[in-house]
């Protein structure tokens, strides 16, 4: 393993991104997400993801330097056209407008369109809660997941995330895939020649399977939580797809045309302003939420975001470690 400080992680990410033609605005936005992923030990969104970003660029499936276009669509809707670029710069460009609209209207929505997916939704939710707002966010991905009772993929892994600001504390944030498990987990089992647990996927006949090859190549992944999880996955397709004039996971996969690039689609973010909902009572009402968080931590149970915050404290103090092979792969992108 290679140990790096967070500054070194950022420097490495920025050098790779600049080398491949990303401008300073995109480089900064992408590096912030990559560093946050590595720092919080969410490896799938850490430095590892640089490989996918550059592969997507080389496949011609992302515009490196599109300038996000902000459209004031309605009093409570802002649209940001990412122009085929990665999503983080579009998000940070639109966020102040979303926040203004939430504060003036009480609730507001931001639709990011025509973006190539690279966001960790929890990073975005933390940015929203840092402004004192409650937030929800979701997006489609690529069609890999079967609907309840089906055998062929329809949904993406379709993450759904929520954030709640807490005075003087890390926000309450969750961010989960509506698939039973990340696709990468099934890939790892395939590489290791290990069976997967029942519940992760089905074979070509829609039968539960423990064979990662059958699930990935012929069948489909499953949602978490049976028909309820599938219903949520469908909701994500709809509100972050047709409702915002952007692609479903099937349409994104068709657009990909076998290049195995990151998904190209939209994202819907909703922000709610507690002060607008509650007026002078906001502080007292939000304090009642703390009793809920205390009750949720009974018997040593942890809040959804707790693991990330603990990793963050470790990384802030000691830096992070990278597998040497991954470090070498990333350095090779500088050659």
């Amino acid at each position: 393993m290679i140990r790096l400080s967070l500054d070194e992680v950022r420097d490495l990410a920025c050098r790779v991104l600049r080398k491949h033609g990303f401008d300073e605005a995109h480089t900064a936005a992408l590096a912030d997400t990559l560093v946050a992923g590595q720092r919080d030990e969410c490896a799938s969104h850490g430095i590892y993801r640089l490989l996918g970003l550059i592969a997507t660029l080389r496949a011609g499936k992302v515009v490196p330097n599109a300038v996000p276009k902000v459209l004031d669509q309605a009093p409570a809707i802002v649209k940001v056209d990412a122009g085929g670029a990665f999503s983080p710069l579009a998000f940070r460009t639109g966020l102040p407008v979303l926040a203004d609209k939430a504060r003036s209207c009480g609730i507001a929505a931001m639709a990011i369109n025509h973006c190539v997916h690279f966001s960790a939704l929890w990073v975005e939710l933390e940015a929203i809660t840092a402004l004192g707002l409650v937030g929800l966010a979701c997006n489609p991905s690529h069609a890999w997941v079967a609907p309840a009772g089906g055998a062929r993929p329809v949904f993406g892994t379709n993450p759904f995330a929520f954030g709640w600001p807490r005075a003087g504390k890390h926000p309450f944030v969750f961010d989960f895939a509506t698939s039973a498990i990340a696709r990468g987990e099934i890939e790892l089992h395939r590489r290791a020649g290990k069976p997967i647990p029942l519940g992760w996927g089905v074979d070509a006949n829609g039968q539960p399977s423990t064979d990662p090859n059958l699930v990935l190549d012929q069948g489909a992944m499953l949602t978490f939580g049976g028909h309820k999880g599938a219903a949520l996955a469908a909701m994500v397709e709809l509100i972050a797809g047709p409702l915002i004039g952007d692609l479903t996971s099937q349409e994104s996969l068709d657009f990909d045309a076998g290049t195995k690039s990151l998904p190209y689609h939209g994202e819907l973010i909703i922000a709610l302003d507690p002060v607008r909902f509650l007026g002078d009572a906001a502080e007292a009402e939000l304090a009642r939420a703390e009793a809920l968080f205390t009750a949720m931590q009974q018997d040593g149970a942890r809040l959804p975001s707790q693991r990330r915050y603990e990793a963050r404290a470790r990384s802030d103090a000691n830096g992070v470690t990278l597998p040497a092979a991954l470090h070498a792969d990333v350095l090779a992108l500088l050659a």
Copy 2:
């Protein structure tokens, strides 16, 4: 079994409600929900529920005739103070304001406060989609459900519902409890002396249990979908509790003070206007959602709302059946 026409069901519901002092506005709003439940073979929200409504009234836990007060809280927020009455009249009173706000702002929220819960969220979502709007709704209930990793109840059964309008078709609507199963299902197993499946609840030590007595009396119910379902349940507590200045499920259970009445709390409804999101492209974009619905019905799989629509067609044609004992119990409320 007793067979009744839908008109007879409505007449029966109205007579019982009037007899117990509900005014015409509340009677009509409650009867509409009861008839819809019975018609769609959603028995828990059908005529059976009349018993609970009257029991709650007799326990002094509901105000029969409060006039809902509509408050224009913000450009995109309407609040409706139900004044301690059942929720359906508050919903229908506020709905036109919510729709106006969604159409002018693009997205809007309605907070119903101080209501005693009797709504089937899918009934409300159908009313929202009938106006051409996309909707979400959720509410807490009573604290019966443990958080992930916990042994004591914190969350309610916390339903979450979504609706999407479809041109010339029944809307796409789902409405599910974030608990693994309805509390009533566990009660039925207890009465029948039958064990419950693993996954529905835990005993007082947080261990999985198949004993309905241990789950209901000493332990807790579980959410669907493990920690993801628990995260959703927490979100419902927050956005339909403190965010709107209303009770959490624990606070609602404390207010109940052992009377076993229906929960007293708030509800959050969000409406989004596709026309405001999409302008002239709305019709074409929404048509793309139909491809998703077609794909979801592959291999004979059904859309979440399909069972209800099939039941509705049967009931519209042939009326409904009630167990004779239930019919007698309801008639006894008229004595």
